[in-house]
Each structure stands twice: as structure tokens, then as C-alpha cells.
Symmetry: C2
Subunit: 732 residues, 2 copies
């Protein structure tokens, strides 16, 4: 903890000068005049939207432009406009107060809102009232980054609070939202909700492991139910959080991506605003490229993993020559060297493909990219276990004899051919599946965690050390290159040094962290029936993960720019997909291995094709029905957030009609109830006479009985006429 | 047509007296005083809400109370209140004009709206501003019916128009909505949309039948796709129609059912209104009874049909004794006698069960009831074909030998046992499946149609004849019972006679007709691959059906009371369910019989359990993916209705903020752009000096460069510092 605290101190000193953003401007890429002109344009653009600027030298041929909102009044105007826009677009259900001042008093500005609005002021196009500065694209390609400065005091307090609390409460989430914006807050809410769910599953899993053993159908059912229930419940929670944070439907009002290209301009039929148009059919054609892409991904990764799997099986279960314990790591070696390269290449390809698909909004872009990455994740994360469960175990005896092609890999080390010969009666290793699941859910998680948190720290320290050594070397050998900090005033020196450090940090992408959690959820949904302690491992992992992510955000990345969202986004679909897939794999696994039903030779008891298909089919139907039931039940759950929203909507309308209905209420029902103290018999006659002179048959019809009393009397007469007759009959 | 025209004349004469509703009040069930008192209460209640009343004697101890709105102004007030309420509850997206008069001028009252509002005035509870008259329940059990009078002229014109037009256009649907209300209009829109869909499928089916033969996988795929696409498209159309008719979300503001019983009263957290509460968990417990109910239905019907199926197979394919051609009708006889009784009993049970489940709104009640009826429909409509396809054909050889138990049914007629002996090598009849599908999709449809349209006419004529004869007989034998028409004034006689006729007609329930169409759709989705001409038969049937339904509404039923709805209701789920089920049955059928793959002995080529399961499983996955894709695509389709709605919502909010934003716009961005014509070098020095005396480090930081021009110049200096150095280096 002490190390982290010192890291916090190093990277995020207090912000004593009220800087809203720092913009890194890189020069030296073009000729002098162009650089200077573009820089002038940058500060002019910033000045034109009411931002105050200061410039200081940065590291490695860069300038640091410090930006703050010059006038609080102007900022409040912007905030108010943004809130009104939200209301028009149904993001807010409550209309803001009609006066700016009152509105800001009623709902004070929070830090993330301030930063978001200033960021929009910098990056929005000029037609939207912004400065139109878009980092790294178009004429602003020299603008390398826009970032806010870390708040050392808050960060320190926050990390301390997190590491001492068992669960995050809603106020802590609110605090995250107020500081880092809704997107980051949604991630923390998500991991928190997932963690709570894991606690239950871990308890059940541990009991199942102790009492029921592996492949227990009971555990499978509970786990499946739990996954469905939590996924659906999270969707419910999302809506509630979105209402709480006033960002419901915010994903619908996203502004266009700067790089979106359009074929024609149209006018929005609703708002009358100009809209850029790109034919969805042209996009659909481009989207079709996703199919070959997915095929390439699946084939490449699939074959690579299958090959390594084959080699591994061969070496560990067939080969019995020298160096076996070392050679067995060959496949791991192949994977760890080729996978990152392949993944990198394919990720670039996925990004290119998504660029080409030309989406209008960041949301649509993110969804499309996520889908592609998810296909990759599916193969890289679950394919190896799939091979063990559904290829190696049932067909091992058939397939292993063909693995002698992999003898090549060990030939140089084998002393004689017998060491590489596949025994006639090959016994598959029944423990392989469990070991593999444990590897992926424990070992890999730990390794991943270390890579994620420790490596960047080490790397950063290393770079700093290297730089220091380099400059010391240059000092010693004369002619030291001029340092950015050379001309810093003493007062600013410490502050500027910290800003320069932050400028070198990468930008934080919350998507990566969500993706990691979704993949983890996949192991639980798909394979935890193999080893019910999976959730226990995840509980420990995730408790640390949440805190580590907080440290990461504070130490290893630039402060995230507050972004609004009302969901964790496309990953939601991935969760649903994994739950569904889990219902299939779990059912198949339970059928194949239930009661540890592995025979003496390691093969499960005779697996029947139709029986396994029937199991999977039934499981899927059950899944669909259960999900429908759970969804219906959860949709019936009301919440204070939803009630608040309805009440606000109702109030807006009520306020509007209060004025108008007052007028309509003046009309009161006209009751033509006249006193009818007339003799019964004469009533109708009078009426008839009275209307004989009228011309209209309708008027005559309606005038025969005036008022309800007359109708009642005539009716009574008619009823009476029946009764005496009836009574007379009875007497007869 | 002439007959129908005369029927129209008989039952729906012109309404010359502007009657809004007629209420049938039955007396003679209780003692005289109670009847008279309750009648007085009735007309008083009607009078108290501003309705004019007239009473006339009706048939069979009943009184006919004629009701009309006494004051147009009062009516307009009610209409306006209803529209404002709609807007508050989000049914309308456009706020009504603030003045009643203007609002009614902008959107004139249509007939169905008028009738609906008066009906609400009669039936709504007193706390909701109505008279609280609820026919057939509670204290109003003697109020037998409330019905509006047919408009003879319109009916005649309408039927004529329908029978001469090929398809209904949207204006004709609007007309139906204006006359009979949204619920009926939705049915016509539904059958119309279904008919258009059928036209395509019929064309494809006919080509498939001619070119591809039966069980063509190509036809199966196109048909499945078509069913999915149409179901999803209809949902899209529903929303559009709901917007067009201003009834979107109307199902959410339904008032409570009169018979709903509550356990406690709570306050609505949103509107502050009092709400009646019945625990959903208590209801859930009651709903669990649906499971035994469904089991009983499935078992009873399933066994009955299976038994008749067995008898039929036995007689037609085993028995070869005398009277075979007559005996073969035994199962039909059993079914036609027992089924209606059983159906009747179970329908009553379903209704009782749904009553017991105690739903709050009519919508929820209808959904629950529909679900139960749908289970019955599933078994009664499709079980027989299912038995043939999936039991008789694949397992016929195994099962038929056990059918000798049914020999009992023909024993009395058989001459010797040999006639009833099952041959050792029994060949199943490969044509049975096709014949059965043709029977259900052609013969049964025609029979059903005749039963539905002709029988009631005949019945009604018969009753009239019987009554006439009876009264003639009474006349001849003296002491004729007093006729209701005895005291009619000459002027009113014809009109009253027609009203008395209408009073005896049953009330129209649109649900029955929708249900019929849904079942028909089921044959198409589930079995049409057996006989691709199915859709052709349906096209003809439905063209007539639509017109016949119109005639039915005009002639055989009381005029429907206009009801609002924004959907065809729970049947929508049934459509989705049938599409899903269709994907399974069709896949299985294609696998089993593709290429007319029936062997010599009538059995299909070896059917493998795993293969059929794999086919079904694949079909289902494909179905889910395709439906998701279709749903996504259709959700992207915009429509003028949706645009209109968005525009209206936008306008309401815009109007509200137009006032408020004006004020906030007064704040204009403050640009601190001072002229900076200073010498570059001196700039920073001046700034520094100027700020030395300031105490705050932040102020000092921000004061070093005043305005963006100074920042630009300092930046330029910093950039320049690099370039000369660089250039010098190059020179070296």
C-alpha cells in the first residue's frame, strides 16, 4: 500500500492552479512556419469559446497548453444549455428550472459535468458551438492529447476508502460518477454487481464441490439460473442507475463521429436540423465483410490452438523420452509468442474494418468493434477447453493415434522411436479437463492480473530510469540536450514536472476492463460445472481487481475524460450470449460426465449422439423459457428510480395542463332533471300532445319523457303492468 | 348479395332518433318493488351524468332505455377531458389545444370516440365521473346489455365497398376505426396485412408445388422466413397504426376491472391517486393452477384425439369387412359429439380459473384467458397432424399391431375375425399426412366458414318463424299474450321493432375472429411444407372471410361498442410461438420426407434419432438468429407515423423551453481576447512582474499570458527555439 501511495504522490500532485484540461501539442513534425501557425490557430480557437490558455514547454518537442474556463457565468450558461438539450431529447425527465441561476442552485454542477462540458466546448464542431479541436485527426493531427489532471487528494482518499471497504455502496458509486463520469462509474457498478452475484455462486459452488462433487446437475441448474437472473437483473439495475445519474437514453443523442463520411445531406424531419446521410444498405454491404473476417479469426486461432493442443497431448501423454518436463512447454511457448502478434494484427484489422463500415455515432462504432473482438475472445478463451471436453475426451481414442505427426516436434530429443510411439490402447487422461479449467480460472487470472497492474509500473519506472541515465550520460559527456524543465519557474517546477509525467501516460479505456470481466463471466457460465470452485477463485480475484483498477486509473493512466453513457454497452449482448452458450455446454458436460461417469479407460460411458443432442435441445428450450420468465418477473419489479422518473414525467405534463384544464372544467354537466310531480297516467299523454306539433321525429321521440323522473315513472308503469297479470295468473 | 342486403335492411334500419345507446333492463326476476326501485335508480344514475333517457317496452319482460347525451357542450367537455388524460398518460404525444373549442375544431370528434366516451360515462364508477352502471354484475345484474344501434346506411355502403374492393386501403381502415372503434379496426388491419402476406406465400407455394414438389427444403426456408418477417413486420405496423389512431400505450391506462377484488388500498407514488392492491405473489400462487389445467387439457384432448386417430387408422387401413365406408366415420362422429362438449366445459373452467386469478385490468385478464385458450387450440388443431407426421409415419409399423384393441368398435359388423386382423407386414399409407393437411386447410376451413356465417342466419330466421307461429297459434286459440309492440305509436313502430330485434342479437367479440386467423396461420407455419398449396386455399378463404366478418358484424351481432387498443393483444405472442414451433416441425418434416423420401413400404428412409435432433436443433438456432436479424432490420425502418410522434414530442418540449432558454441565452461567451501588439521577448517578463505581487499561485500561473494571442506568441517562441538548433545541427 505504501508503494501505491508513493506512486499516487508521484503522478498526481495537487492541482494548485485550477487547470481544467491540458492539451499536448507536438511540433517538429512539419516545418516551423506551419507548426507555429497551427499552434496559433489552436489557441485562437480555444480563446474564441471563452477558454483561458497558458502554454509551457513539454517533453520531446511538445507544448503543454493549459486550459480553463475563463468565466464561471459563461460555463453556467453552457451547463444550462446542455441540461435543456438533455430534456428535449428525453434524457432528463424533469425540466430544468426556467432560470439559469435557479437551475444551478437546484442541481449544483458536479466535477465530471464541468469537465465534460468543457471537453465538449473544446472538441465540438464550430456549428455546435465548440472550438472544433479534434485530437489526432485532420488539421489537428499535431494535437496529441487532451487530458484532465489527476486530483491527488481525492485519488488518495478514494483508494484508501476502497481498500478498507468490503463492498461499494451507492454513494461511493455516485462519488465515482461525480469525479470520473458515468462511463467509469458504470464499470464500477457493473463489477460491483457481478461481485455480489459471485458471492452467492461461490457459496453454492463451494457447497456443491464439497457435497455433490463435480458435474453435479443440481449445481449446473443453480448456476445457470443464477447467470440468467443476474444478467437480467443487471439490465434492470442499469436503467435504475441511468435514471439516478440523469443519463437515461443518453446513448441516443450522441453526436456524430468526426470521421464519419456522408454521401448526402438531408433535413431531419423532426427537428429540422441538417443531417448527414450514409446509406444503411451501403453499410450493410460493407458489414458483410464481417463474415470472412470471423471465418479467418476462427480458422486461424482455431487451428493454432488445436495444433498446440495436439502437440501438448502428444508430448504429455504419449512421449516418454528425455526432457519431457521441458518439452511439454513447447505449445505454451508457441502460443505465448504467436498469439499476441496474431491478436494484434487481427485487432488492427478489426479496427480498419469497423472504420470502413463508417458508423455515424461512437456508440454504433463501439458496438461493431466489440462484436468483432468478442468473436476473437470466444475462440482464444474457450476453444481450448472446448477441445478437451468435446473432442479429446469423447474421441480421444480415435484421434490420438493420428497425433504422431507431432512426433516431429520431439524427434530431435527422443532417443528411440518407441518413446514416441502411441500405445495401442491409449487411455485418455480424465483429469485433463479439470486441470485445464483450473488453469484458466485461477492461474491465468493471476497471471493476467500481474501483467495488467505490475508490468506497466515496472515499465514506467524502467523508462524513467533509462531517461535519467541517458541524461546523466549526456551531462557527463557534455552537450546535454535542453530539458523541458530548464526554464520552469521555481514555483511551478514541481507542478509542471507532474503534468509532464501525466502527459506521457496512456488514455484509459474502460472497455478493456469490462471485456475482461465478461470473459471471466464466460468461464463461470460455460465451464464452472467442471470445477464448482470457479466462483470462489473469481471472488478473490475480483475483490482485488476492483481496487487494482482504481489504482490503475489513478496511477497508470491519464485521468479519464468524463463520458456519459446509460449502459455498459454492447457487452450486455455478450453476457446474454454467454449465458445461452453456457446452457448448452453445461447440459452437454453434465450428460457426459455426470456422477463422474468416466469409465476405467478414461472414456465416459457410451455417449449416444441422439441423447446428447436431446439433452442440449431440452436445455436450450428450458433456457429460453426460464429467461422469458425471469425477464417478465424482473420487468415487474418497480424501483425508486423508475417511480421518480414517472413522477417527474407526470409532473411536467401536469404543470402544462393545469393551466389548460382549468378552462375546460368550467363546463359542468347539464342535468335536465326537472321536478316530476305529475300524475302517472297523464304523463305520456301530455308529452305526446306537447310534441305533436314538432316536425322532427327525433325531437318527438326524445320529448315524450322529460327528465329521468318521467322515464322512471313510465318504466315503473310498464313493470307494474306485468306483475298484476302475473299475480292473477298465479291466483288462477 | 341480395339476401345480405335484405338482412341488413331488416336488422339495421336508419337511426332516425339520434340514440346513442340502448340499455336492456330485465324485470320479472325479482319482486315488483325491487325491480321498480332499481329501474328508478338506473335512470337517475343516467340522468345524473347528463344523459337524456326514454323508455319503451321490450320483448320478454324487458324495458328498453334509450340514452343520448343531452348537451353537446357537456359531451365536448368530456371529450376534452379524455384527450387531456390521454396526453398525461403518454397515449397522445401531442398536447391538445388549451381551449376546448379550439381543440375540438382542430380534431373533430369521430363517431366511435363519441360512443366510447358516452359508454364510459355510463359504465365508469362514480368516483371516475361515470354513472357506474355495470351490466350483469352486482346491483346491476338486471341490466342485461348496453348496445349502440346499427347505422343502416353506413353498413350498406360499407359492405358494398368491401365486396367491390380487392384490398382495403388505409382510409377504409380509418373509416372502420371511426365507426366501430380501434379494436375492430385493428382486427381488419390485421387480417388485411395477413392477406397481403398470404398473397406472396401463395405465389411461392404454387410455384414450389409445381416445380419442387412436396417437402421441398427451399419452400420450407422461404415459408419460414416469410412467417418470421411478417410476424415482426406486423408488430411494426401495429405501432404505426396505434400512432395514426392516437392510441399508442393505451393498453397501459386501462381502468380496473369492476370485479377485481383487492386486499388493501395504497397510494400511487406517482400520481398520488388511490390504488387498489392485490399481492402479485398471491396471484402467482393462483396462476400455478394453470399447470394442472394445461396438463388436463393436453391429456384429455390428446387422448381423445389419439384414440379417434387409432380407430380411424384401424378401420380405414386394417378393417376390410362390410360397412367400411360408413364405419370409417365413427371417429369423426365421436369427435364432433364429444369435442364441443369438452371444449365448452374446459372453456368455462378456463374462464373460472382466470376469474380466480383476479386480474386488475381487462388487458391482463384477456391475456391470461387467451393463453389458456391457446393451449386448447394447440392440441385440438395440430395434434392430429402431429400424430400422423411424427408417430404414425415413423412408428406405424410398430404401433399399428397394437391397434387391435379398437377391433371392438367394428366387432358387431365384422363377418369374421380375419376382416379385423392386422396383416403381418403392415404398410403405412404414405398419403395420409397430405390428405389430413388438405382436410384441415381446405375442408375444415370451408365447413368452419359456413358454420360461422350461415348457421346463425338460419337459426335467427328459425327463431323468428317459431315465434311468429307461436303467436299465431296463441291468437287462434284466444288469449294472446300481450306483445311488446302493442302500444307502439305508429311513427315509432318500425324503429322500435328493429331495436327489439337488435336487442336480441349477441354482442360481438373480435377475439374469436383473431383467434381463428391465428390458428390458420399456425397451419401455414407448421404444416404447409406438406402441401405447399395451403396458402392458396387460405387466400381464397380469407378474401371471403374479411367480407363475411363485416356482414357478420352488421347483421348477426349488436353493433360493437368502440374499444380502444394499440395491439391485437396476446395473440401476438401466439403468432411468435407458432413461428418458432413451425421452424421445428418444418425442419423435422423436411428431414423425414425430403425428396418424397418415403420407401416402398411407406416408411421413410431410415430415420436416425441423432440426425433428426440435429436438424431440429440447427433449425432452431437458425430461427433465433434470423428472427434477431429481421427484428433488428425492421426496428431500423422509420415510418411517417413514428416521425410524426417524435416531432410532436419534440414540439411539446420545445414549446416549453422556448420561454426558458430565451433567458439563458442572454449570457454570451466572454472572450478575453485582448490586443497583443507587444514585443515578444518582453511579454512574459511583463506578465511575471505584474503577477509577482499577487498572493495566489493559481492567479500567478494564469496571469502569465493574458489572452490567446500572448499564449500563441509564447508558444511560437518555444517552437522557434527548437528549429534553429535543429537547423544548426544539420549544418554541422
Amino acid at each position: 500500500m505504501a508503494r501505491i501511495a508513493s506512486a499516487l504522490d508521484q503522478t498526481s500532485p495537487a492541482n494548485p492552479v485550477d487547470v481544467d484540461y491540458v492539451i499536448t501539442y507536438r511540433y517538429g513534425t512539419a516545418d516551423k512556419e506551419a507548426s507555429m501557425k497551427q499552434f496559433e490557430k489552436l489557441v485562437e480557437a480555444l480563446g474564441s469559446v471563452g477558454l483561458a490558455t497558458e502554454v509551457r514547454p513539454g517533453e520531446d518537442l511538445s507544448l503543454l497548453v493549459f486550459v480553463k474556463e475563463a468565466s464561471e457565468e459563461h460555463l453556467h450558461g453552457e451547463v444550462y444549455r446542455s441540461r435543456v438539450k438533455d430534456w428535449i431529447h428525453n434524457v432528463r425527465s424533469e425540466a430544468p428550472e426556467k432560470e439559469t441561476k435557479k437551475a444551478l442552485e437546484a442541481e449544483p454542477l458536479y466535477e465530471a459535468e464541468r469537465l465534460r462540458i468543457i471537453y465538449q466546448l473544446i472538441t465540438n464542431s464550430k456549428s455546435d458551438g465548440g472550438a472544433g479541436v479534434t485530437p489526432k485527426s485532420g488539421e489537428w493531427k499535431d494535437v496529441e492529447a487532451i487530458f484532465a489532471l489527476h486530483d491527488r487528494d481525492f485519488n488518495r482518499k478514494w483508494i484508501k476508502q476502497l481498500s478498507s471497504s468490503y463492498l461499494l455502496n451507492i454513494h461511493q458509486l455516485d462519488e465515482i460518477r461525480n469525479r470520473f463520469g458515468e462511463k467509469v462509474a458504470f464499470y464500477f457498478a457493473f463489477i460491483q454487481s457481478y461481485f455480489q452475484f459471485l458471492l452467492y455462486i461461490a457459496a453454492i459452488g463451494a457447497s456443491a464441490w464439497a457435497i455433490l462433487g463435480h458435474f453435479s446437475p443440481i449445481y449446473a441448474i443453480i448456476n445457470g439460473l443464477g447467470c440468467i437472473a443476474w444478467t437480467e437483473y443487471w439490465k434492470h439495475q442499469e436503467v435504475d442507475l441511468a435514471i439516478r445519474w440523469g443519463v437515461r437514453n443518453v446513448s441516443k443523442i450522441e453526436s456524430q463521429r468526426q470521421t464519419f463520411t456522408y454521401t448526402k445531406e438531408t433535413t431531419d424531419p423532426v427537428t429540422g436540423e441538417k443531417m448527414r446521410y450514409f446509406s444503411p444498405f451501403a453499410r450493410l454491404q460493407r458489414q458483410l465483410l464481417q463474415i470472412p473476417f470471423a471465418l479467418v479469426v476462427v480458422t486461424l486461432f482455431g487451428c493454432l490452438i488445436a495444433m498446440c493442443f495436439g502437440i501438448e497431448v502428444f508430448i504429455s501423454e504419449v512421449y516418454n523420452g528425455p526432457l519431457k518436463s521441458i518439452l511439454v512447454f513447447i505449445p505454451t511457448g508457441i502460443l505465448t509468442t504467436t498469439m499476441p502478434i496474431l491478436t494484434g494484427v487481427l485487432q488492427v484489422l478489426a479496427r480498419k474494418l469497423t472504420d470502413f463500415e463508417n458508423y455515424e455515432t461512437e456508440g454504433a462504432y463501439a458496438t461493431a468493434l466489440t462484436q468483432k473482438l468478442f468473436v476473437m475472445d470466444l475462440v482464444t478463451s474457450y476453444w481450448a477447453i472446448f477441445l478437451t471436453a468435446f473432442v479429446y475426451v469423447p474421441f480421444g481414442n480415435v484421434i490420438v493415434p493420428y497425433l504422431d505427426v507431432f512426433a516431429l516436434t520431439v524427434q530431435p530429443f527422443a532417443e528411440h522411436d518407441k518413446q514416441m510411439q502411441i500405445p495401442e490402447r491409449f487411455n485418455i487422461n480424465p483429469d485433463r479437463l479439470r486441470k485445464q479449467v483450473i488453469y484458466f480460472t485461477v492461474t491465468a487470472q493471476i497471471v493476467n492480473f500481474l501483467l495488467e497492474l505490475i508490468v506497466p509500473i515496472v515499465k514506467r519506472r524502467g523508462t524513467a530510469k533509462y531517461k535519467q541515465m541517458k541524461s546523466e550520460y549526456a551531462m557527463k559527456h557534455g552537450g546535454a540536450a535542453p530539458q523541458a524543465s530548464d526554464n520552469d519557474s521555481a514555483e511551478e517546477a514541481e507542478f509542471l514536472a507532474s503534468v509532464r509525467k501525466q502527459a506521457e501516460l496512456p488514455a484509459y479505456d474502460v472497455g478493456t476492463d469490462i471485456r475482461e470481466m465478461v470473459i471471466q463471466f464466460g468461464y463461470l457460465a460455460l465451464w464452472s460445472v467442471v470445477w464448482p470452485l470457479t466462483a470462489c477463485s473469481f471472488v478473490i480475484n475480483d475483490w482485488i481487481e476492483l481496487r487494482a483498477d482504481a489504482v490503475k486509473i489513478c496511477v497508470e493512466y491519464q485521468r479519464p475524460i468524463p463520458t456519459r453513457t446509460d449502459t455498459i454497452g454492447p457487452w450486455l449482448d455478450s453476457l446474454s450470449f454467454l449465458t445461452w452458450l453456457g446452457s448448452l455446454t453445461t447440459a452437454a458436460l453434465v450428460y457426459m460426465f455426470s456422477n463422474d461417469g468416466v469409465g476405467r479407460d478414461g472414456t465416459p460411458h457410451a455417449i449416444k449422439g441422439w441423447a446428447i443432442l436431446l439433452t442440449i435441445f431440452t436445455a436450450e428450450q428450458t433456457f429460453l423459457v426460464v429467461r422469458w420468465a425471469v425477464r417478465t418477473s424482473i420487468s415487474k419489479i418497480d424501483s425508486s428510480g423508475r417511480q421518480k422518473e414517472r413522477a417527474q414525467k407526470f409532473m411536467v405534463r401536469k404543470r402544462y395542463i393545469d393551466e389548460s384544464v382549468a378552462e375546460s372544467n368550467k363546463i359542468t354537466p347539464v342535468l335536465d332533471v326537472g321536478p316530476a310531480k305529475l300524475d302517472r297516467e297523464s304523463l305520456e299523454n301530455i308529452a305526446r300532445e306537447g310534441t305533436l306539433h314538432k316536425s322532427n321525429s327525433s325531437d318527438r321521440f326524445w320529448a315524450r319523457q322529460r327528465g329521468w323522473r318521467e322515464t322512471a315513472q313510465v318504466g315503473s308503469n310498464l313493470i307494474e303492468r306485468y306483475y298484476p297479470a302475473n299475480e292473477t295468473k298465479k291466483e288462477q
